[in-house]
Symmetry: C2
Subunit: 304 residues, 2 copies
């Protein structure tokens, strides 16, 4: 059975009734399961994680998107997170028995259908990008809703699907395919945010550190700690243990220690097994030795 | 859906045709899956790991046992591992949505049915033991097939099910319920087997070390290494990381380091996640964050 994850981001993090109305189709659609949803009031944004077979996921997405579009007016939307639309981003993530190529194909087909059903213009990003410069989300979202509204008429900012103008209230939607992303935070025993910033710079790829790692330094003021907050965008190429050990190493320069770490949201089993194998020096470890992963295969076979 | 593991041990590790005939019912029975089977020529023994729902597991077990009983003659069996019967031990292990109490109940009911179908006398052990002194397998298997054949007539060695005499070719079978057991080996960078023996003594519960840990020291002669070979009989009460770190600590006394470790056979996900969380200092980690474990729940719900 083909199973993918989808992590749609909606520009609503404050109104509980709207939030619940958006996630309702994910709860109710058979063949897909709502793993997690986190609404952030400051960001005025909600991140949803759902898994399931390709067809039910797409049906539920269309339904939820229509709810979001009918309730969210980007002309009056405010929030701390960059965004261009009511349904801001929809990434499809290959999980089991489905390739990245199939997810790209699916993202593009879904993009056309989504535009047809809603009238919202669509940009394709990451592995589904049609233009090289649109691989990164930042380029597509540059200047956010307010700027894109004007600049969309420039040919280099034309959408990939739809006329070169934003939907009057729902803006635009960015749809794509990418690998599973891990949100990994490391909290350090100091109140000096500069330490977290310097370490973030040392560890992230833009600073010359580890590939496939993005990161920033933040203060956790109420706790008197600082945090290196990261996204691991390809955990198969840079393991969590490598990221953590590099941070532990850099922190020594400041006489600072790691107080704790956080995995925020969902994580693929392989990312944790990989790090467990490293720390425990397990030779020749095979995920097929894990009872639950074999049970999952067994139940998938029955579904197929 | 209730899922249990069953790890039957058969006294055949040499004849490939007999081995394949025994595991055939596990491969073919719907509702149960053969995770692993390992035949050992020196031990002349095979350990099978299967998972599934209670009914199909029991049906497949009866079928496989009849094959084993018809091919194995304990009067001519030789092998390095203690044994009392052709079907030597059958432990039932609770995995998902089933309690230890239910497994005990199931083991006892199965024991009566097994004896009725095969005529082989049955002893109950571990959590399913009816007599306190039979909790440990060692007590039941004392002196092995050859001694039990004579001593079975003593009231204190009477079987729990059946007349006090062994089956003429298949001996007796020990049936029970226990927690999942992890076979965990730690290889040390020395050729001195005394080091492994001393460390095994320090770490195992019989030597005063960690509870729920059994272990012996062995030489891995072809590799010039030694091994602390362990069974963790309750991984929820003594985590792998604790066992490993105690060995690393003891090994320092001899100036010896851990070269690698091995997880032999199947392991529950929680045992590895627990150790990953420790080494990575993950605060508030919840197994529900692991995508595959949620997928498993989702598919189980569909089955229910």
């Amino acid at each position: 059975m083909k199973i993918l994850e989808c992590v749609p981001n909606f520009s609503e993090g404050r109104r509980p009734d709207v939030i619940e109305a958006i996630v309702k189709p994910f709860r109710e659609r058979k063949g897909c399961a709502l793993l997690d949803y986190r609404a952030d009031k400051d960001h005025n944004r909600m991140v949803v994680s759902l898994v399931g077979a390709p067809d039910p996921i797409q049906e539920a997405l269309l339904e939820a998107s229509k709810v979001a579009i009918s309730h969210i007016d980007m002309e009056h939307h405010q929030g701390g997170h960059p965004r261009v639309g009511a349904v801001d981003v929809i990434p499809f993530v290959p999980l089991r028995n489905i390739s990245m190529e199939e997810c790209v194909e699916l993202a593009r087909r879904f993009g056309y259908r989504y535009h047809g059903d809603t009238g919202v213009p669509v940009y394709f990003y990451e592995d589904a990008a049609l233009r090289l410069e649109r691989k990164g989300l930042e380029a597509i979202r540059k200047g956010q809703y307010e700027v894109l509204k004007v600049e969309i008429t420039n040919p280099e900012r034309h959408p990939d699907v739809g006329e070169p103008k934003l939907h009057p209230s729902a803006g635009a939607t960015v749809i794509g395919a990418r690998k599973a992303l891990i949100a990994f935070n490391v909290n350090l025993g100091t109140a000096d945010v500069e330490v977290a910033r310097e370490i973030a710079k040392a560890v992230r790829s833009s600073g010359g550190g580890l590939c496939h790692v993005k990161g920033i330094g933040l203060a956790l003021e109420s706790r008197g700690l600082v945090q290196v907050s990261m996204n691991i965008v390809d955990y198969e190429r840079n393991s969590l243990y490598r990221v953590l050990e590099l941070i532990r190493m850099e922190a020594r320069k400041w006489g600072v220690t790691v107080v704790e770490t956080e995995v925020y949201g969902m994580i693929p089993a392989a990312a944790l097994l990989d790090s467990a194998s490293y720390y425990m020096q397990i030779a020749g470890f095979d995920p097929d030795q894990v009872i639950e992963l074999r049970l999952l295969e067994m139940l998938e076979d029955k579904e197929a």
